[in-house]
């Protein structure tokens, strides 16, 4: 029999699994259960077991939306890592004070909500916004025209929102990269660019991959930016899920779409682990 003290210790030891079950397993199982139910126009869902919601997804439209969402996520992740990696590298090579200023600036921009981010971009890219005015002034545009809704606007706002995550993911390992390793490459005959490509990138392959996966997953969950800045045909799965649940009142359909999205993310994660295993550690 457990004494009170031992029970307490057992509770503490079990805490991680309790947290995991409570925050991950239970919500997921709930989602799975709802996805197997039938819609109820007067409530949320009827407690019956049916695959109707999944059956309704077996069409080109949904497959197209899923692929499109994945494509956007991979594209945005590629852009953020391509921008974020050199940016982080330059930050880590700065003196301490400018480093702190940059990191604080990036952290502060993280605290802006998605909504503020999306509407700011809408304003910036509008007919009377700053950017169009500048483009007209430079002669790139002939007359002021709104740049939203467009795919470019969605990507720009997503990249802006995710870039701080990328920098924060890459910063620890890049700041630990010994400058002598790059200098050694330089004395061995590598130009700065070549040293970056042949030494810095191979030494930080894993953090790059981690940043890429985080960017992809965050983009897949993006809701406000595509909704505000994109056309209906460029809405991502997250927007379609929201529409199904809120406008269509079909909660099981929304749940089934979510399960499919989760499955896609899971596959992506598995692929990442597989890729990392292909190379020896470090």
């Amino acid at each position: 029999m457990l004494t009170a003290g031992r029970a307490q210790i057992a509770l503490w030891l079990a805490w991680p699994s309790i947290a995991l079950v409570g925050t991950v397993a239970i919500p997921f199982l709930l989602l799975l259960r709802i996805s197997l139910a039938a819609p109820d126009p007067s409530g949320l869902w009827k407690s019956v077991l049916t695959l109707d919601a999944y059956g309704a997804l077996l069409n080109r439209e949904f497959a197209g939306a899923l692929l499109y969402s994945l494509g956007v996520a991979l594209l945005v992740a590629t852009i953020t890592v391509a921008l974020g990696f050199p940016l982080t590298y330059l930050i880590t090579r700065m003196k301490r004070r400018p480093q702190v200023v940059w990191l604080v600036f990036l952290l502060v921009s993280l605290s802006l909500s998605d909504v503020l981010n999306a509407f700011s971009w809408q304003l910036l890219l509008s007919k009377r916004g700053g950017l169009t005015g500048l483009l007209v002034l430079l002669g790139i545009m002939s007359r002021p025209e709104s740049l939203t809704p467009s795919n470019g606007a969605v990507w720009a706002s997503l990249v802006y929102g995710i870039l701080p995550f990328t920098v924060m993911t890459l910063y620890p390992s890049l700041s630990q990269l010994a400058p002598e390793v790059v200098e050694a490459a330089r004395t061995l005959g590598a130009s700065p660019l070549r040293a970056f490509r042949t030494v810095v990138i191979p030494m930080t392959r894993q953090p790059i991959l981690a940043a890429f996966v985080i960017s992809t997953v965050v983009t897949l969950g993006a809701y406000v930016s595509p909704l505000v800045l994109g056309r209906p045909q460029s809405w991502t799965l997250a927007v379609l899920i929201g529409n199904a649940a809120l406008a269509g009142h079909d909660v099981p359909r929304a749940a089934a779409m979510s399960v499919c999205l989760l499955g896609a993310v899971g596959l992506l994660g598995a692929a990442t682990v597989w890729i990392t295993r292909q190379r020896p550690a470090r």
Partner: protein, 354 residues
């Protein structure tokens, strides 16, 4: 043009008002092994990094075989460098590390493999080519770093305290290997160190630095026997630095004793305060009461036998002299804490003016 080696002309590096390297001019003849020796913070590493092209001089010029390379970036100089932290590439094998510079130069695969094999044999690691860098011992890693630097057949071989992380025995061994390698390949080499023993073991000539400036350039024997100033005398080995005064062109007053010297450096007139520098092993310990003009009476305050010699501290009327005697002489003197006479042989000492 015949290779004339490396020449530095008034090389200087400052950060704002802080001068790290101050107006260094020197020549390193082709094929020579030169050590930059000095305490930490004396600017020796910065000077080496300027030569490597990793640091831009504030002013001055750098020439190799008469060619001005001051503005050439590091990767175009073909100067190999071995870093204190070695800076091997952890994601590559030993072979790949060594082949790195050859790959950059697009050396054909077969030639590359031949060179890597050659270098692996040179550093006696022929069987370790496929290993990862973190599977090697400290000494092996050291040798890989050297081989990697040598693969590009450098014009100049630069080493920044490469042996300081090794334990004493291994360091000794590596010093000899390094010297043999340098002589075999006839490489113009510069090694930075704060270890005077290392500099004495390795170098054809030593550049002693302090506070960013060159204090003396000379052969190890020169630096040891004829230090240019108080700093060099005190930094290289143990040394007694005694207050003295010039009496005339052949005599010094040291602690009230008149000592005859061969000649006083030019320009010193009667009454100039100078320093008489003498090494412990150049001091002769004689039985107490020995009467000679250049002897000072004293009492041995401390003695310890360190194998091949006995180290002594001698109290000469409140002033301390560090001396040494062979164990046989020490036994002949008979007493371990008694009175002795200390002979300051003028021919063995050096007169320093700064």
């Amino acid at each position: 043009m015949t290779p004339s080696g490396l020449e530095l002309q008034g090389l200087r590096k400052s950060y704002g008002t802080h001068v790290v390297v101050d107006d260094v001019s020197l020549r390193v003849p082709a094929g020579e092994f030169v050590c930059f020796l000095g305490p930490s913070g004396c600017g020796k590493t910065t000077l080496l990094r300027m030569i490597a092209g990793l640091e831009t001089p504030t002013s001055g010029r750098l020439l190799l075989d008469g060619m001005d390379l001051t503005a050439a970036p590091a990767h175009q100089r073909n100067f190999a460098m071995v870093f204190q932290a070695l800076a091997l590439f952890p994601f590559l094998t030993v072979e790949e590390n060594i082949a790195y510079s050859l790959r950059l130069r697009n050396v054909a695969r077969q030639e590359r493999q031949r060179r890597v094999r050659e270098l692996l044999e040179l550093i006696k690691l022929a069987d370790c080519g496929a290993r990862r860098v973190d599977q090697l011992s400290g000494g092996q890693r050291q040798r890989v770093a050297i081989a990697r630097a040598l693969a590009q057949e450098p014009m100049l071989f630069l080493l920044d305290e490469p042996l300081s992380a090794l334990d004493a025995k291994l360091r000794d061994h590596m010093q000899i290997e390094l010297r043999l390698l340098q002589q075999k390949l006839n490489l113009t080499t510069i090694l930075v160190t704060h270890d005077q023993r290392e500099a004495m073991t390795l170098a054809d000539s030593i550049v002693v630095m302090a506070d960013g400036a060159v204090q003396q350039i000379g052969s190890p024997a020169d630096i040891y026997r004829r230090p240019a100033n108080r700093f060099v005398a005190g930094f290289i080995g143990q040394c007694n630095l005694l207050q003295a005064e010039v009496l005339d062109s052949h005599h010094l007053d040291v602690w009230g004793r008149v000592i005859e010297v061969e000649s006083i450096p030019g320009g010193l007139v009667k009454g100039t305060a100078v320093t008489f520098s003498i090494r412990p092993e150049d001091i002769r310990i004689l039985p107490a009461g020995t009467q000679a003009p250049d002897t000072v009476p004293g009492r041995v305050s401390f003695a310890r036998e360190v194998g091949e010699r006995v180290e002594l501290r001698i109290d000469c009327n409140g002033r301390e002299i560090i001396g040494a005697a062979s164990p046989a002489d020490w036994a002949a003197l008979g007493s371990s804490s008694g009175s002795v006479a200390v002979q300051l042989r003028a021919s063995a000492g050096t007169i320093l003016t700064c």
